[in-house]
């Protein structure tokens, strides 16, 4: 399997995720962008693990990234739901005060 194609795919996923994080106003969309960026890292890790004759560190690290992504999604969505209950909006431009 060609390594360069997989690396291009990872770069494209990362940049699409970055664009989503920068431009979208809805908090859920921002979380989706972060998930895309974490997956881009995973693609690179697994791709280099494929050509690694010595160890299997790439795949192990990819597993850990998936776990951390799951934890991040759970905490992030809990925070979004709580913030929505308080401010009645999920638009990040309107959530601009810290006082509870």
């Amino acid at each position: 399997m060609p390594l360069n194609f997989v690396l291009f795919l990872g770069a494209l996923l990362f940049c699409a995720g970055l664009y989503t994080v920068i431009t979208k106003k809805n908090t859920i969309m921002v979380l989706v962008g972060v998930e895309l960026m974490l997956n881009a890292a995973n693609v690179n890790l697994v791709a280099f693990s494929r050509f690694d004759a010595v160890g299997i560190q790439g795949q192990v690290f990819a597993l850990f990234v998936i776990t951390v992504a799951a934890a991040e999604a759970a905490i992030g969505l809990a925070l979004v739901v709580k913030v929505y209950q308080h401010f009645q909006t999920a638009n990040i431009d309107e959530i601009n005060e810290l006082k509870g």
């Binding site: 399997m1 291009f8 970055l18 997956n39 795949q59 799951a70 979004v80």
Partner: protein, 175 residues
């Protein structure tokens, strides 16, 4: 071009197209479903890279867990009135410039790098893949990290339940 290579490219292009669609669309539900498409494409790519366990985990955790959470989040944070759920965008030009330039830099870097010069690289490897090797490695060499990540997941899930949970005052009703 052999058939496995064609299938490999198909999965890769599928997830790339889904990622671009996520970046461009406004409808939040479409985003959730194209995220499913993107993750399934990535799972296919992982299978062809010799990481079957990562592929299965990807489908189980992302498609089965995180996406259900995301859709629940969408439903809980929007007033559903039978109209489309739309997310506005801001600073489209700046965002496009930043991410486009980063993509260009990454492309040039990948094209310029000579990965075959790395001493641990071997074009025809795949010797160390497979579920058994992964399990043995996880339980011997990486066992500390494995236990720590389990602890982290437990803490995160308890924290999520505590943050999102309803803190009712039970003692009021007890009297």
């Amino acid at each position: 071009m052999s058939l496995p290579l064609i299938i490999f490219y198909f999965f890769g292009i599928l997830s790339a197209a889904a990622a671009i669609y996520i970046a461009l669309t406004k409808n939040i539900i479409y985003v959730a479903f194209s995220l499913i498409l993107c993750f399934i494409g990535l799972a296919g790519v992982f299978v062809f890279l010799g990481a079957e366990f990562i592929a299965v985990t990807q489908i189980l955790v992302y498609v089965g867990g995180i996406l259900v959470l995301l859709i629940f989040g969408v439903m809980l944070t929007n007033r559903l009135k039978g109209e489309k759920l739309v997310s506005q965008s801001r600073q489209k030009l700046l965002g496009f410039l930043v991410s486009g330039m980063l993509f260009y830099v990454l492309l040039q870097g990948i094209l310029a790098a000579n990965f075959s010069a790395l001493e641990w690289m071997s074009a025809e490897s795949g010797s160390q893949t497979g579920l058994k090797t992964l399990g043995m490695n996880l339980m011997t060499e990486y066992v500390l990290a494995f236990e720590l990540i389990g602890l982290l997941l437990l803490i995160a899930l308890i924290g999520a339940v505590y943050i999102a949970g309803n803190k009712r005052k039970e003692d009021k009703h007890a009297a």
